[in-house]
Amino acid sequence: MIQSRDSAGLRTRYLARLAGRKHFIQGDEAAALGAIYAGCSFFGGYPITPASEIAEVMARELPNTDGYYVQFEDELASISAVIGAAWAGARAMTATSGPGFSLMQENIGYACMTETPCVIVDVQRSGPSTGQATLPAQGDVMQARWGTHGDHEIIALAPSSAQECADLMIDCFNLAEEYRTPVIFLMDGEIGHLREQVVFPDPDTVTLTPRRQAAPGETVFGGQTVPPMLEFGHGGYVHVTGSTHKEDGMRDVQTQAVHDRLVRRLVAKIETARDRVARVDLDAQEGAEIGVLAYGATARPAKGAVLRARAAGRRVTFIRPVTIWPFPHRQIGAACRSLRRLIVPEMNLGQLAREVERFVTCEVVPLGKIGGVIHSSSEILAAIQEGGR
């Protein structure tokens, strides 16, 4: 894999220049620089609010690290080129928002089916359709899970700060390589355009998951839960197809057992990794009967509301899922076991709330707010206080 063409340690020195000091940058820019840290060598994109800044920063930075930024004719070309580049050795990514994310769905499914590691950033904005193009929302949560057709699983992470945009991007790339899957980075317009302090690590301390190449005799599309890849140009006669295929990649759409084996393995690949991939920021209070669960931008006012409630003497548990998909139901179920009531503020009409409902026994109170305005901590505090006690 072409992780970095860095014959004179130029990339390391370049990143070291970023490290160790405070930057005051938007989430978008932090995400782009995080991707550079993660060894991203190809960005294919298309302008769209509020993700255009990611493209602009990548266009500026990638030539410095001998990566390639290409602006394509549309989002379909972008995701296609990203997948092609991945098979030719790149750590590849694209960034878009709702309308572009919708366009990319077919090929996200292709990436799932062919087990192509890549990162798709969705800086969510208010929809459906063109919606409120410049205003934030969290309305793509279910689309990230089910946007493409057919049975499949996906990994999606959601940052709540500009710092997390940088840190979690590295995790996204590593997860993509570890599980040979597309990973969705569910940012939102609020965090994407929020300027905060960001500190980048010393590049030598960043661990990148290497891409496993198939040894002679190993199959690329089966034979183990996460098979090794075999990139183009290594004499392997690799046959990559989105059609149902056997372990060696050759198409077989007629045999029921082949499809069953393939799709169940693709699903199991992520399903069995659920607990390892699960990241939940849990701030439980002993004896709390009320909890607040929030992710992404909404976690900020939610945290504020929780702190205000605690200052007023109430016990409140605060749960912030960082991994959205696969949904960390074990951790969240356990955290809610002693709760009577769980408030779930989201900038949508209750998309993650209905997932939470499946796994908890307490009352779930979705606090959906749409229209491009984030919750205030007072609104959430009022919901906490409403339940009495």
Partner: protein
């Protein structure tokens, strides 16, 4: 028997029992569980296949065990595969240095799975888009796109013209059989005016693209059109397209005797090839003829040749400049950054 009788279950059962041999085996309980190609697709692909004392010298380029192709009898797709394999052999290319990128449709099955090389069989219309990513990351590999008219000129039209505009170093072979063949024969953006298809059952009221001309106008360093009736010229044109730096495009007019032929009274592949022979006119002969005079003719030959700089070269040059500047910035007394990995650029 009449269609009505055929659809009557009792009548059909009685008829089936009457015509079936008495010792017909019972239905197979394991239907759909066995892999019909088990063991056939391993590394030594000509093992156990006895082609007699003489063997077609191009067989090592192919997955012989799955031949003959699944194409219909007389399909031009097979001829395109033939010309392509001949071209690769005559050029002395190493298939391990090639990547074939295809879309969806019969024409996308030309190299996949028959031709032995790295293959990226993508989604409908997106082959050129995927190929961009492959070529940018591995400019040392020959990246070739083969797909049909519906795929590349219909749903994939935008990607096609932008790749031509970009002049990215790809060879794109658009196999034009004037129809969406795999799905049974629907009208395509290249179906001639007035023709009957399954979705123009009366007549086609749209005018078609002259897709090679569209691509020539969009850009690209080499644009040509040939038909499957001209396999030698086609083969040479393919060699030129693959060798040429920059975007190369060949529109290959091809026969589809089943999906196109069934509603146009051209079910015999021989008849369609004779048609190509009769209406083809070389671009030199067509020079000076008006659009009306060329109506219904297929203009073959090289339409355009340019020597513009290839897209990837521009990207790599940008990276070299940036890294030199960065190298100087970060360590003014250090040696200048070595040039990028061995790719010859103009």
């Amino acid at each position: 028997m009449s269609l009505r009788e055929l659809n009557d279950p009792e009548y059909f059962d009685a008829w089936a029992a009457a015509v079936a041999p008495a010792d017909r085996p019972p239905p197979d309980p394991e239907y759909g569980t066995r892999d019909p190609l088990a063991g056939l697709l391993d590394a030594d692909l000509t093992a156990g296949v006895d082609t007699g004392p003489a063997q077609h010298r191009l067989l090592p380029y192919l997955r012989r065990a799955i031949l003959p192709t699944t194409f219909c009898v007389g399909c031009g797709g097979g001829t395109v595969l033939n010309a392509f394999t001949h071209a690769v052999d005559e050029m002395g290319l190493d298939p391990r240095q090639m990547v074939c990128v295809t879309g969806i449709g019969c024409s996308s099955w030309i190299p996949s799975p028959y031709f032995l090389c790295d293959t990226l069989h993508t989604t409908h219309g997106r082959a050129v888009a995927f190929a961009n990513g492959v070529k940018i990351m591995r400019p040392d590999l020959k990246v070739i796109v083969i797909a049909g008219d519906g795929d590349l000129a219909g749903i994939g039209g935008n990607h096609l013209i932008h790749a031509a505009r970009r002049n990215i170093d790809l060879a794109v072979f658009l196999v034009n059989n004037f129809i969406y063949g795999m799905t049974g024969g629907q009208v395509s953006p290249t179906t001639p005016f007035g023709v009957r298809t399954t979705t123009t059952p009366y007549r086609n009221v749209e005018h078609p693209f002259r897709i090679a001309d569209v691509v020539a106008a969009a850009g690209g360093n080499y644009v040509a059109r040939w038909t499957t009736y001209h396999p030698f010229q086609l083969m040479e044109s393919m060699q030129h397209a693959i060798a040429k730096k920059g975007f190369s495009f060949i529109e290959i007019v091809s026969q589809c005797p089943v999906s196109y032929g069934k509603m146009t009274n051209m079910s015999d592949p021989v008849r369609i090839l004779e048609y190509f022979r009769d209406v083809a006119i070389h671009v030199e002969a067509a020079r000076g003829m008006s659009e009306d005079e060329l109506e219904g003719r297929i203009v073959v030959g090289k339409l355009v040749e340019r020597d513009r700089r290839e897209f990837g070269a521009g990207l790599r040059e940008l990276n070299r400049e940036r890294r030199e500047a960065l190298g100087a910035e970060l360590a003014p007394d250090a040696a200048p950054e070595a040039a990028g990995e061995g790719v010859e650029d103009r």
